[in-house]
């Protein structure tokens, strides 16, 4: 599945390059240290490593040595999240107004080898949806879904809170060039990541434009027992409730037997 997606991406990338006159024939190859992260009950976060290589042909060789920049964007499973704003009502701080962000990434990381402003111009950053600032986040406004403006206070608060939870992440030194043609990026996953498919897109920039891109993905799953409990709680909630009740009775009964005094 992952391999098929990436080969499609390569074909698409090649097609894109073929029809752009100025394009040089760089190619990007990336590989993740793992495609499956298992969350057990003691999961305290993890770091994934992405390795990438830049392949060049005669047309682009002249650019070698410092001309390349890499931006890796990781997008986690989507969630609908409400951002509440507190206001003072009768002397109490109360959730007074809210905006609903629809199908926004639960996790978003933008990793690069230098600040994004040094890689691409403001216009192209916006066009390429590069970085947390320019990533589109949809809001529900009275029945319609619209992309929130960059300076919307709810959007800013959303991004800030997600960043505090380490679920949104922009790091300008996370991509390290080992050799001019070989790079490595470290993907930090905090303990509170959501389960699901995480899409990874690596983009190679030269002179402020994307010259190659490559996609891959990894999956975060819960371990056997945790997965079983989570699924039961969601899909068989009534049975799950009765099971929890019986577990309580059993624990209570066990306690009364073990510590029986009369």
């Amino acid at each position: 599945m992952t391999r098929r997606t990436s080969s499609i991406a390569i074909i698409a990338g090649a097609a894109l390059l073929a029809c752009t006159a100025t394009a040089s024939a760089e190619r990007l190859v990336v590989s993740l240290s793992t495609h499956r992260v298992v969350i057990a009950s003691n999961f305290a976060g993890a770091d994934l490593t992405l390795f990438g290589a830049i392949e060049q042909d005669a047309a682009s060789v002249g650019r070698a040595g410092g001309g390349h920049n890499v931006v890796v964007t990781i997008i986690g499973p989507r969630q609908t999240t409400v951002t509440w704003r507190k206001d003072r009502v009768f002397g109490l701080w109360v959730n007074a107004s809210s905006r609903t962000f629809v199908d926004v990434p639960s996790y978003l990381a933008v990793l690069s080898n230098r600040p994004l402003s040094a890689i691409a111009s403001a216009d192209s950053r916006q066009h390429l949806r590069l970085g947390l600032q320019d990533y589109p986040l949809a809001q529900r406004r009275g029945g319609k879904v619209v992309t929130s403006k960059f300076d919307d206070p709810y959007r800013q608060a959303f991004v800030q809170l997600k960043t505090e939870q380490q679920l949104f992440h922009e790091q300008a030194n996370a991509v390290t060039f080992i050799t001019p043609m070989l790079f490595r990026a470290s993907i930090p996953l905090p303990a509170n990541v959501a389960v699901g498919v995480y899409e990874v897109e690596a983009r190679l920039f030269a002179d402020g434009v994307v010259v190659a891109r490559e996609n891959t993905a990894f999956e975060i799953v819960k371990s056997g027992a945790a997965q079983f409990i989570a699924e039961a709680a969601r899909d068989h909630s009534l049975l799950y409730g009765f099971a929890a009740m019986l577990l309580a009775f059993f624990t209570g009964w066990l306690g009364s037997v073990v510590f029986r005094r009369d």
């Binding site: 709680a233 624990t251 209570g252």
Partner: protein
């Protein structure tokens, strides 16, 4: 939700110890502790219901063996209790959807803990001064007829040797169920004094009867919270239950040996502090006015 398992177990143990020592359910301490730890209030309330079910089952078994409970009175209270539990679980899901769960729980906890803590402090302070003056520390007030003894639908409860209208009994059951399901408390702190002082139920059957009621309302709350709000966390509940049941045994033993008035005073002050913490959160301007709430997982 990443929280330290040993910390949760330790909290279960500590609250269990206190509950064994003072004969309280401990929900009104446990639920706030979990909320302060950062566990979402909806999950804390639901999961503590499971925990209380376990400790009430444990206690009910012991009282059932000694026949120290009144099944007829319990059944009547449970009737109102189940209705109240339905109401409480429904309220929680409504409050969650309109984002006011923190506010309502904060006010409810502040009021509840303020009253319970205040009464404990006053009552234990009085007991301390009485024992200093040489009188007996424990005094019972004489009986009197209250206004609700005039209500219709009177029923005789043989084991409790009382003859009262079923209306106030259903109301008491309803309030217990409602507050229990909404706040993650058993309601013993309210049931026991009400049964003793208002309905004049003999102390020999009060504790067992109250435990029986809480057992039913809290296990109903567990099932309904799991069904309606998907908010019961069994792993968290199991840690709390094992800690709580164990702690309660040691607490009960310790409670028999030490003088209780001073400890009750301390517990009352602790309860007041926890209540104050809820009030402060509402009154002091938060560092960040914004907060996030995940409403649904995406496609």
């Amino acid at each position: 939700m990443p929280v330290n398992m040993f910390l949760i177990f330790g909290i279960g143990l500590a609250v269990g110890f206190l509950s064994g020592m003072f004969g309280i359910g401990g929900g009104f301490l446990l639920t706030p502790m979990l909320i302060f730890l950062g566990i979402p209030p909806v999950v804390a309330v639901a999961t503590v219901s499971t925990h209380i079910s376990a400790s009430m089952f444990s206690g009910s078994v012991a009282y059932w063996r000694r026949k120290a409970l009144d099944p007829a009175l319990a059944a009547m209270l449970i009737g109102g209790g189940i209705l109240g539990t339905f109401g409480g679980v429904w309220l929680i899901s409504v409050l969650r959807s309109i984002g006011q769960i923190d506010l309502v729980l904060g006010i409810a906890y502040f009021s509840l803990l303020g009253i319970v803590g205040g009464l404990m402090v006053v009552e234990s302070a009085r007991a301390i001064t009485r024992s200093r003056q040489g009188g007996p520390a424990d005094l019972r007030r004489p009986g009197s007829h209250a206004w609700f003894h005039g209500l219709p639908f009177k029923v005789r409860f043989k084991q409790s040797r009382i003859y009262v209208s079923v209306i106030p009994i259903w109301v008491l059951g309803f309030i217990t169920g409602l507050l229990g399901a909404m706040m993650g408390v058993g309601g013993g702190f309210m049931l026991v004094p009400a049964l003793i002082y208002l309905f004049r139920v003999p102390t020999s059957v009060v504790i067992g009867t109250a435990m029986m009621i809480q057992l039913v309302t809290m296990s109903m709350a567990t099932v309904m919270h799991a069904f309606t709000n998907h908010s019961v966390d069994v792993v968290l509940a199991l840690l709390l239950m094992v800690g709580g049941v164990t702690g309660a045994q040691f607490g009960a033993r310790a409670g028999q040996r030490i003088r209780s008035e001073q400890l009750r005073l301390l517990l009352g002050l602790l309860v007041l502090l926890v209540g104050l913490r809820f009030a402060l959160v509402l009154v002091i301007e938060p560092a960040n006015l914004y907060s996030l709430q995940i409403s649904e997982a995406g496609p």
